[in-house]
């Protein structure tokens, strides 16, 4: 058990009261939904990759999106972040319809995403990577860019903010190194720190722990929890059940493009539809997370 995680029950307990009275069923209404999905459908040829009738994602908590391979998680994720367009249906972000909004506009509205295959910008230094994340930069206009006095003061503010974040993510020593020289885990940290430079309301993490060594996993988990403690909503796709159990306040399970179950991680494992989705329909024992049945993709 290299991935053994400490009992995350205490951290979760502080937020679980939000979900008191929320029915543990697909599409249940949440007290304060930051992302609301209605009749979202996306097909590739004859294959319906995503077909979600209704889903609400609660503000200020960590929501995990899980499901067996081919469940449509990544496609759903791309639809939520508008990197892909749905055939039909709507996504409301903070009460505003964002379906069809270009991804860069969504980032400026406060939704930022990371990628399954980390996108550290190799030939930019760590600090340049970070500064790129800041929104509404005066020097990003071609004309003003020519005249440094017009953007230098803002650049200094951005740099200070970037340095503070690098410190927090233990990357300060890499400040002036090319991001391409970083290890896989450091790149994940950089991507998360860079996402925070956009000042987001929602952070969408696509398999944040994929390819990260166990020692760094704990540190990354701590950072994800600290996002929630700052009031940022977190949605993440993950395969590792230890991770899901450790940090998620709420779990959404997808299978064959649909949301088949919702609830806290403690009850998801014994949900018959989830067991059927992961193990096939002719199985009758409860799913045991500790045996890591669902992990190890």
């Amino acid at each position: 058990m290299t991935d053994s995680a400490p009992d995350g029950g205490t951290a979760v307990a502080t937020k679980s009261s939000i979900f008191d009275g929320v029915p543990e069923e697909p599409g249940s209404a949440k007290p304060d939904s930051i992302l609301t999905v209605d009749n979202l459908r996306r097909s590739f040829g004859g294959l319906v990759a995503v077909d979600v009738d209704h889903l609400e994602i609660q503000r200020g908590v960590i929501t995990a999106l899980i499901g067996p391979n081919g469940a449509g998680k990544t496609t759903f994720f791309n639809l939520l972040t508008t990197f892909d367009r749905p055939d039909s249906g709507t996504v409301l972000f903070d009460g505003e319809e964002v379906t069809g909004t270009p991804p860069h506009k969504l980032a400026n509205k406060g939704m930022v995403r990371t990628f399954q295959l980390t996108k550290a910008l190799s030939k930019l230094t760590t600090i340049e990577n970070m500064k790129l994340g800041a929104g509404h930069q005066r020097g990003e206009s071609i004309w003003r860019g020519l005249i440094p006095p017009l953007w230098k003061s803002q650049e200094a503010e951005i740099e200070a903010r970037a340095e503070a974040l690098l410190e927090r993510f233990q990357l300060a020593h890499m400040r002036d190194e090319f991001a391409g020289t970083m290890s896989g885990g450091q790149r994940k940290l950089l991507e998360m720190a860079r996402a925070l430079m956009t000042d987001p309301k929602v952070v969408m993490l696509d398999e944040p722990m994929a390819g990260v060594n166990p020692a760094l996993t704990q540190s990354l988990l701590g950072h994800v929890k600290s996002l929630r403690d700052e009031g940022i909503s977190v949605v993440f796709v993950e395969h590792d059940m230890d991770v899901v159990r450790d940090i998620s306040d709420w779990v959404v399970v997808m299978a064959e493009g649909q949301v088949i179950a919702e609830g806290p991680h403690s009850s998801i494992g014994s949900n018959q539809r989830v067991i059927d989705a992961y193990l096939g329909t002719h199985h009758d024992s409860a799913l045991d997370f500790t045996e890591d049945l669902l992990g190890g993709e």
């Binding site: 930022v112 996108k119 020097g139 990003e140 071609i142 860019g145 953007w151 090319f178 020289t181």
Partner: protein, 333 residues
């Protein structure tokens, strides 16, 4: 027998051309290509089209619309900007390779249009536009032939050498300023990973469009310089191989460095003219017998030499003269 060679003449020809009007044109064109490819990662294989737009824009403004020569330069640049827009709108939303395909085709379409009979009234077909450069020649402050050290220029060439290199330096400084601004940072981010830039709130499409237009405008200016140097605009000077000579100059210097296109352009002409001049001498005085290399074949061999040198460079110094090998190697991880 080697001592019979007139090395003085070889060096004069070489140095004169390495810093001459054609090197100015190449430096300016390569700066534009550096903005496209070096900083933004746009694969532009039709760069000569922007020069054609700039050259024809200038000449047409004078011949057809009788515009003041100084303002005609602006028309040339506007032609290049329009070309950039026309290329960018359909292709910049697509993968990088589409721009490469469209640019190479567009440059040829432009050349064939210019030499077509349909546009004869404006472009004068294959014969090209002549007798429009008088305004520039009259404004030339230089008279007589200029000789200093190994350099030797005619008055008009001298004007292009002086004002052209000055313009190259000014444009280089502007590029340097831009590339260290947040604007330049976004371009480099797009070059590395467009989706990452979009996820961080950058309108990748618009930034790529701006880069395409800026590089196109610089290349349009290069086209104007070439037109004034030759005092004529002919469609068949804008053939596809020239685009790849610009690429050669850029890669010699090393992409994504401010002065690499300038040094690359000088080096390109140094190598081309030196090989031709030196080989001609050797053939002429019989050191190389006619059976091995005839004097008429020398001009082809110079490109062969350039190719070998470029390959050698790619093996031993793939980052170019100015590039950083470690930075280059980051791709391989």
């Amino acid at each position: 027998m080697m001592f019979a060679l007139d090395m003085g003449r070889v060096m004069q020809e070489t140095m004169t051309q390495a810093f001459g009007p054609q090197a100015v044109v190449f430096a300016m064109a390569a700066i534009g290509l550096n903005i496209h490819f070096g900083y933004t990662g746009l694969l532009n294989f039709g760069h000569i089209g922007f020069l054609a737009a700039g050259a024809y824009g200038t000449a047409i403004a004078i011949t057809s619309w009788s515009i003041n020569p100084l303002l005609s330069i602006g028309v040339g640049i506007i032609f290049a900007l329009i070309l950039a827009l026309m290329l960018g709108v359909p292709t910049l939303r697509l993968r990088a390779d589409y721009l490469a395909i469209v640019t190479i085709a567009a440059a040829e379409i432009l050349r064939l249009l210019a030499r077509s009979t349909a546009l004869r009234g404006v472009t004068r077909g294959a014969e090209g536009l002549n007798e429009w450069a008088g305004g520039f020649q009259n404004a030339n402050p230089f008279t007589g032939i200029f000789e200093f050290g190994p350099f030797r220029y005619l008055p008009m060439q001298m004007a292009i050498v002086v004002f052209g290199w000055l313009a190259v330096i000014i444009v280089s400084i502007l590029v340097w300023l831009l590339m260290r601004s947040p604007w330049g940072r976004v371009l480099k981010a797009i070059r590395e990973d467009e989706d990452a830039a979009r996820a961080l709130g950058k309108n990748a499409y618009w930034f790529k469009m701006q880069a395409l237009m800026l590089g196109g405008a610089v290349a349009g200016f290069a086209g104007f310089i070439q037109a004034v140097d030759k005092a004529t605009v002919q469609p068949d000077t804008f053939v596809p191989p020239i685009t790849f000579f610009f690429w050669t100059a850029l890669i010699l210097g090393g992409a994504a460095r401010v002065f690499s296109p300038v040094v690359g352009a000088i080096l390109f002409w140094f190598i081309i003219v030196f090989s031709e001049s030196f080989l001609s001498e050797l053939v002429a005085d019989g050191t190389i017998p006619d059976s091995i290399l005839a004097s008429t074949e020398v001009s082809n061999v110079r490109f062969l030499i350039m190719g070998i040198l470029l390959m050698t460079l790619m093996v031993f110094r793939p980052q170019g003269i100015f590039g950083d090998r470690e930075e280059m190697a980051l791709d391989d991880r």
